[in-house]
């Protein structure tokens, strides 16, 4: 049995029933729309292309490379799929991959599948698209722009998706936010680098062998604007929520409690964890560092957004 570390596939039992159901509803809506758009864009070809690409992504997740001694880097593939076939088909492809993984290989739970789909198929793709499309436009189609955008898109998709997973865990009361967010975020900030490297490697190969598959910057016309805005919105939202949650776990628990996630009689409010998580570094400082990173992302996002809209305002588009 191949052991593939799947740090982002949340198993059953970790999310509360309500959180699971909410994200099921959201994912179903998102997927229904993505299916419709994919049918419009790809037509008859969609079934074989999506199916076989999903198989390739699954197989691709088995390709590993050693990072240090025992650990290895792996691929999620949302960014690569988005770059190759566009955002809506990528949502469908990733949905296929994550669903079959859950159903057959128990990578991620069945009830939690809604949340996992949201994190990997929707957020992963939306953020990838947002970062990739923006950066490619900014670099005006230069070749190196392909690789820089690919790396950034891959990293961002993993990092932001992991924040979403952490918040879902926090909302469910399974993990205090001021631990889940830095932990998930920190781990996936590293994993994201691996994703970025593999994505760049794949893009380099495709650029050399089949340039037309990756050459052009994605056309905004293909309805990408909606996804782009979604990606930006999600990245901003999570960037804002995460440090807030991290610094104010009480606030989040209060919300959770009001929703009945925590059975009030049995589980008292989470207190702050011991004053420091890492030796010598206070909890607040950790949250601040995280907020700093995320704040940078927000600034970047805003700058890019402004540049993009100005550019498309000027151009005939």
């Amino acid at each position: 049995m191949f052991l593939r570390p799947a740090p982002m596939h949340i198993p059953d039992g970790f999310l509360s029933t309500l959180v699971s159901i909410i994200f099921w509803v959201v994912s179903i809506m998102g997927l229904a729309y993505a299916l419709r758009r994919t049918g419009q864009d790809l037509g008859e070809r969609q079934v074989p292309l999506m199916g076989v690409l999903a198989a390739a992504i699954f197989a691709g997740q088995m390709l590993n490379f050693s990072v240090t001694g025992g650990t290895s880097g792996h691929l999620l593939g949302a960014a690569l799929a988005t770059i190759l076939v566009g955002p809506w088909p990528a949502v469908v492809v990733m949905t296929t991959v994550v669903s079959v993984q859950a159903l057959v290989f128990q990578d991620g739970g069945l009830l939690a599948l809604g949340a996992n789909l949201f994190n990997m198929a929707i957020i992963g793709v939306a953020v990838s698209y947002f970062v990739y499309a923006s950066l490619r436009r900014l670099t005006r189609g230069a070749s190196w722009g392909l690789f820089a955008s690919g790396f950034a898109a891959a990293w961002a998709s993993i990092f932001i998706a992991s924040l979403a997973a952490a918040l879902q865990l926090a909302l469910s009361g399974t993990s205090p936010a001021n631990l889940a967010v830095p932990a998930m975020g920190g781990i996936h900030a590293l994993i994201g680098i691996g994703e970025g490297l593999i994505t760049v490697g794949a893009l380099a190969f495709l650029f050399a062998t089949r340039r037309e598959l990756v050459g052009a910057a994605p056309a905004a016309a293909k309805g990408g604007r909606g996804v782009w805005a979604l990606g930006l919105g999600i990245a901003l939202l999570l960037s804002v929520l995460s440090p807030l949650a991290s610094a104010n776990p009480d606030g989040l628990e209060w919300v959770a409690e009001q929703q009945g996630f925590l059975e009030a009689a049995r589980a008292p409010l989470f207190n702050l964890i011991p004053d420091y998580v890492l030796p010598g570094i206070s909890n607040e400082a950790l949250a601040t560092i995280l907020a700093g990173i995320l704040g940078t992302l927000i600034v970047f996002g805003v700058v890019v957004a402004v540049a993009y809209f100005r550019r498309s305002g000027k151009a005939a588009a």
Partner: protein
């Protein structure tokens, strides 16, 4: 290269294997839902739920050992819940210093962690029984039965069909890579770079393999599309009319749902 090991289906003869896939699917999901809805601390309910899934494991001929081994592979995530044991306030049970700081293990925290672990463990066992006793084709029929769109189900089917082909290709690529990963024998004094290249280089190699896989996949999907067109494909997914669920399976479904419903009700009333 045959990659059958990836397929979790165990072809055995058992009442569980013979049970209609749609019923099994619904019961498995209902079981997981019941586990999820079971209130904190309802240990007798967990015990009863465990006995249900245990019976399924034994009845199906899969064996408890097999299911537990597969369950173990799926649960490293449980480590993520360990902090619960230390962060939930309550009566302190154990205190021990770890390096420069003091970790307090509370009883409530431990129980809370145990809850998450048990829920997770029970759910994954149900999922394993489902996947190991049901052919993938029947799982797809079950998905159609719960109204998942035809197109999506067709894509799942194609992914499954070509999973083994592409994983085989990936394994061959990795094998070719290992075959070229020897370290040159040189006299000790001769200058050399660190073998294995840099992390970035290795990442690029892995990426190149991924790109290779993707390219083959896109080309193959074109050929499949041509083959489908040649046999009359017009974009619509067509299949035979579905057989109705046999009465015996229907009865099993209702009994199972009723049992789970009772457990949920009991649990919620007493501990909810």
């Amino acid at each position: 290269m045959h990659v059958h090991f990836l397929d979790p289906y165990r072809p055995l003869t058992s009442p569980v294997h013979a049970l209609d896939g749609r019923v099994k699917f619904i019961l498995a999901v209902a079981f997981i839902l019941t586990v999820s809805l079971t209130p904190f601390g309802a240990w007798p309910v967990y015990l009863l739920l465990w006995s249900i899934v245990l019976s399924a494991e034994i009845l199906s001929g899969l064996g408890v050992g097999y299911v537990l081994r597969r369950a173990a592979l799926a649960l490293p995530f449980v480590l993520a819940a360990i902090p619960l044991a230390f962060t939930t306030p309550g009566t302190p049970w154990l205190e021990f210093p770890l390096g420069p700081w003091q970790l307090t293990l509370t009883l409530d925290g431990l129980l809370r962690f145990a809850n998450v672990a048990v829920k997770s463990w029970l759910s994954v066992q149900a999922a394993i029984v489902l996947a190991s006793s049901t052919e993938f084709r029947d799982l797809l029929l079950a998905m159609r039965a719960v109204r998942i769109p035809r197109l999506l189900v067709a894509m799942f089917g194609l992914m499954w069909r070509y999973l083994f082909v592409l994983v085989g290709e990936a394994l061959r690529l990795m094998r070719a890579r290992s075959a070229r990963s020897g370290i040159a024998q040189r006299p000790a004094a001769a200058p050399r770079r660190r073998p294995g290249g840099s992390v970035a280089w290795r990442g690029k190699v892995a990426g190149g393999m991924a790109g290779n896989l993707f390219l083959r996949a896109v080309d193959r999907s074109d050929r499949i599309y041509v083959a489908m067109l040649s046999r009359g494909y017009d974009g619509e997914v067509r299949s035979f009319a579905t057989q109705p669920v046999p009465p015996g399976a229907r009865v099993t479904l209702w009994i199972g749902l009723a049992l789970l419903g009772l457990l949920w009700l009991g649990g919620t009333l007493v501990w909810g």
